[in-house]
């Protein structure tokens, strides 16, 4: 460790440890570069599928009374187009880009949880495959990409189509949640030493906020999907108005996710712009702090807009006004960013190149989309154009202009980094013009067709309405745009196969990802830098060779382990060494088992699904047991004269924060369930119910049980501090089993849950508590196993800290759940009799 190794020897040593293997071994890859690229490539394949679906739609709508497809196929076409584009293209693409770039830009060797990244990818791939394969069997989802009930309920969609959507999307969302947790923790904890938050490149800020938004924004959809699937499969009426449910609840849950979703899609694209524009303006970004404030504001404000998708539902005007005002306000942080970018260009020495073409395209297209968005925020206007092609025009202008164009700019910008080759420019420029002209031709017309009354999701139209010429133009434009995208695809492939070897850092950028060899090595940095200035003003040519020579931190391999550095969240002060697990097939195994579980539920073979679920849990236990550090390591040398402890022996390490943020997401899910329960009580038809739940004294037993947990888990921690955790853990496990039994008894006291939403929501709340009791039991047993195998000690206590988090969370939510069910009879008593 102390002798100087040559860069070549260092490279070989690192590659041996960090490499992902060859051939079948690549299935065990956990490296962020490999997984990030997989996400991106898979997302682009789904984009092509979504694009073909769009072409089929345009072929059908090109002429009036076209006989190309009938309504049954057409309904599948537009549902799949939206679903594939939103869930299987946009989100995974931004995840992949984040995974690929973040460690490099932040000066780390990898993300915090490499196996989790890999598992997320498999969930995405298998879930996406299930959804898309349904088209081959003619049972693709056909209720629209937002699947409004009651149309998507079992009565009106008896086939498997809706279940494929609900289960498939929830499966894919696992990958979104794992990516979100990982990105938040990695950005906060795994930066290069010295990179305080104000020295972090804006890309990091954007992804941090995006990931937080994902943590809070996806759970409402996950909950809604679970509830709808339970309604379809087991008859529990959450959305059925004939049994005390409300179809509008689905809309609230969906759009609570749906609106932040589009900002989740936009922010990483804005991150790309904030990274690229300064490079092409040849000066640092103008308004760094203003942009940070703006994106924090955007992150929050975007959660206050969702009802603007529901302005015609019959909600009172004052409530609509809140959402209308917030929808207009959100234009302000967006404008701050746009004017900052313009200022950067104005105050720099702007130059042209292919990425800038797409930036221009962004300015033109996204600004139009943003302006029509403000129009749509106006309630009376919305009442006319809601659910017409005007909205279709708007959403494509903001999504294509605000996501696809910046991502294409990013693609051309980073392709030399991905491939190590430079572009063959012949194709790039004509491809751009085809795309932008084709796009505008396709979608500009739709503003007018919408104003002329053309609704969404119609498979044909009458000839006397003034829509034919415009639709034909749209279809022609669509095909032009498709050709443009095909040319872009060809362009990428050409660069990959025939491009000349690129110079390092062809754009003369000053962010860290260019301070490493391109294409990147598996270990990203041969040694890690200490950051003294803002990380978008790095002197790359000076820094690169010093890092490659091993002169930074961790310029060595120790004990055949993958290591990177952990820092203080705010100041970037060096705190600990993060010991990462090496490549493993476990993520793949877990992914396959999860897919089997999903398929079991899809085909209603529930015993099989339950078995697979248990197998998945067992595989996660295996993750935890494998790679466990079995001895106290104490402070370790990390280079540059510094010694810090490993992450297992500090407070506030990555695994602990991951638990915190996972619980944040979980809390959002629980809050959505509580919201749903109260919403139905307040607003749904057919309340008050005939039967009311009576939990009796067992409810008090449950509450006391939670108090017991609170005390017992602290006892276990105290026991570990003196090195004897096993007995206390065993007692904790026994208490969990007891609590599970009590909750089971409570669940059994709910009579005939399918008969009314009151019973169904009470059932759901208690089921949530029971599931968490089960999770706590599993975690306790896992911790016990680790204690027996020596992976836990008074110094290595992170497992117990995480256990405490889960137990406290389960106790708080359990108390709320039981108390709410106990309270429901009182609340029902307040309602006027039906």
């Amino acid at each position: 460790m102390n002798e100087r190794v040559s860069p070549i020897a260092l490279h070989k040593a690192l590659e041996r440890v960090w490499g992902s293997g060859h051939g079948w071994q690549r299935l065990s890859a956990v490296n962020h570069t490999v997984i990030g690229r997989r996400f991106i490539v898979t997302a682009l394949l789904f984009f092509a599928i979504g694009g073909v679906l769009a072409m089929l739609i345009r072929a059908q709508l090109a002429t009036t009374r076209s006989a190309f497809v009938g309504p049954d196929i057409y309904n599948q076409l537009f549902t799949m187009h939206g679903t594939v584009m939103m869930f299987l293209f946009a989100i995974p693409l931004l995840e992949g880009l984040g995974m690929y770039l973040l460690p490099k830009m932040l000066g780390a060797r990898d993300l915090a949880f490499p196996r989790l990244s890999a598992y997320g990818y498999w969930c995405y791939l298998f879930g996406g495959a299930i959804i898309v394969a349904s088209m081959l069997f003619g049972v693709a989802p056909d209720g629209g990409w937002f699947m409004y009930t009651p149309l998507s309920s079992a009565t009106y969609t008896p086939g498997i189509n809706a279940d494929i959507w609900l289960l498939g999307i929830t499966f894919v969302e696992i990958s979104a949640m794992t990516a979100a947790v990982e990105i938040v923790v990695s950005i906060l904890k795994l930066r290069a030493p010295g990179m305080s938050l104000d020295r972090m490149p804006l890309f990091g800020w954007y992804m941090l906020i995006t990931a937080f938004m994902m943590l809070v924004g996806f759970p409402p959809l996950i909950l809604g999907s679970i509830l709808l699937e339970m309604e379809r499969a087991f008859g529990l009426p959450f959305f059925d108005p004939t049994r005390g449910g409300d179809p509008v609840l689905w809309q609230h849950l969906f759009w609570l996710f749906g609106h932040p979703e589009v900002y989740i899609i936009f922010l990483p694209a804005a991150a790309v712009l904030s990274t690229i524009i300064p490079v092409f303006a040849q000066r640092p970004i103008v308004g760094y702090r203003a942009i940070v404030i703006a994106i924090v504001a955007l992150g929050f404000l975007s959660f206050g807009l969702w009802v603007h998708h529901m302005f015609t539902v019959g909600i009172p005007h004052l409530a609509l006004a809140f959402f209308s005002a917030a929808s207009m306000l959100v234009a302000i942080p967006t404008a701050v960013q746009i004017f900052s970018w313009l200022a950067t260009l104005a105050q720099g020495r702007p130059r042209y190149d292919i990425p800038m073409l797409y930036v221009f395209g962004f300015f033109i297209v996204f600004v139009i989309g943003g302006l029509t968005g403000v129009m749509l925020a106006v309630v009376p206007f919305n009442w006319q154009v809601h659910d017409t092609h005007f909205v279709v025009a708007h959403l494509h202008y903001v999504l294509v202009g605000g996501f696809v164009f910046p991502m294409l700019a990013g693609a051309y910008y980073w392709l030399p980094h991905f491939t190590g080759r430079s572009s063959v420019h012949r194709l790039s420029v004509p491809a751009f013009w085809l795309i932008i002209v084709g796009f505008n031709l396709t979608f500009f017309m739709m503003h007018l067709t919408g104003l002329l009354g053309m609704p969404r999701r119609v498979y044909t139209y009458a000839p006397n309405l003034g829509w034919e010429g415009l639709n034909l133009l749209s279809s022609v434009g669509g095909f032009a745009m498709a050709m443009g995208f095909a040319l872009v695809g060809a362009d990428f492939i050409m660069q990959l196969r025939f491009g000349r070897r690129s110079v390092r850092n062809p754009w003369q950028a000053s962010t860290l990802e260019w301070a490493q060899p391109t294409p990147p090595a598996s270990y990203a940095f041969a040694s890690l830098p200490h950051i003294e200035e803002r990380a978008d003003s790095i002197d790359v040519p000076k820094l690169s060779p010093t890092l490659a020579a091993g002169q930074g931190y961790l310029g060595f391999v120790r004990d055949e382990r993958m290591e990177t550095l952990g820092v203080d969240m705010v100041t970037g002060r060096l705190e600990h060494v993060m010991l990462l697990p090496r490549r493993s097939y476990l993520p793949l195994i877990s992914g396959v088992l999860t897919a089997a579980c999903v398929l079991g539920m899809l085909f209603k073979i529930y015993w099989f699904a339950a078995l697979c679920a248990l197998a998945v849990i067992a595989s996660f236990v295996a993750w935890s047991q494998v790679n466990a550090i079995t001895r106290d390591l104490g402070p370790m040398e990390v280079g540059r004269g510094a010694r810090v402890p490993p992450h297992t022996e500090v407070e506030g390490s990555a695994p602990w924060w991951a638990a915190v943020f996972s619980l944040l997401a979980n809390a959002t899910l629980f809050a959505s369930l509580v919201f749903g329960t109260l919403y139905l009580w307040l607003v749904a038809p057919k309340w008050p119910p005939a039967i009311v739940v009576d939990l009796g004294l067992w409810a008090l037993v449950a509450l006391i049980g939670y108090l017991g947990h609170f005390l017992l888990v602290r006892r276990a921690i105290a026991a570990n501090a003196i090195g004897k955790p096993s007995a206390a853990l065993l007692m904790l496990a026994a208490a969990s089993v007891a609590q599970l039994a009590v909750l089971w008894i409570l669940l059994a006291r709910i009579p005939d849950a399918p008969s009314h939403a009151h019973l169904a929501t009470s059932f759901a709340l208690l089921l949530y508590a029971a599931i968490h009791a089960f999770i706590c039991l599993t975690l306790t047993l896992n911790t016990l196993l680790k204690a027996r195998s020596g992976a836990i000690s008074p110094q290595r206590r992170v497992d117990l800290s995480v256990l405490k988090l889960w137990f406290d969370y389960a106790a708080v939510t359990g108390v709320i759940a039981v108390a709410l069910v106990m309270l429901m009879p009182e609340l029902i008593g307040m309602l006027p009799p039906s």
Binding site: I293, L318, A321, V683
Partner: protein
């Protein structure tokens, strides 16, 4: 930024958390009031009181952020953006919920 507690990060989010709280409170109270057919003067009064409370809390937060800024020579990064975020949240709360003064509550 040498010794900055991670809590300082919360300054970035505190203001808008209050905005979100105001949203929940006002939207929720409006829904409950309409469902139980409260007299509109009472309903509006409750809404405006809740709004005033949140605005007061935001004002206090902004003032504390301002003090924190002034206590350093040149405002450090988190203090600056924390203050900016809080002021933005204050403005957002005012603008989002101003309609409570005049608009129809339950129609």
């Amino acid at each position: 930024m040498s010794q900055v507690p991670p809590r300082r990060l919360l300054w970035l989010t505190a203001g808008f958390t209050l905005w979100a709280g105001a949203f929940l409170a006002l939207y929720g109270v409006n829904a409950v009031g309409c469902a139980f057919a409260w007299p509109s003067a009472l309903q509006r009064g409750v809404l405006l009181t809740l709004l005033a409370l949140h605005l007061a809390a935001l004002g206090y937060l902004a003032w504390r952020c301002w003090q924190l800024r002034q206590s350093h020579g040149r405002p450090a990064f988190l203090e600056y953006v924390g203050f900016g975020a809080t002021i933005s949240a204050l403005a957002a709360t005012l603008l989002t919920f101003a309609p409570s003064l005049v608009l129809s509550l339950c129609d």
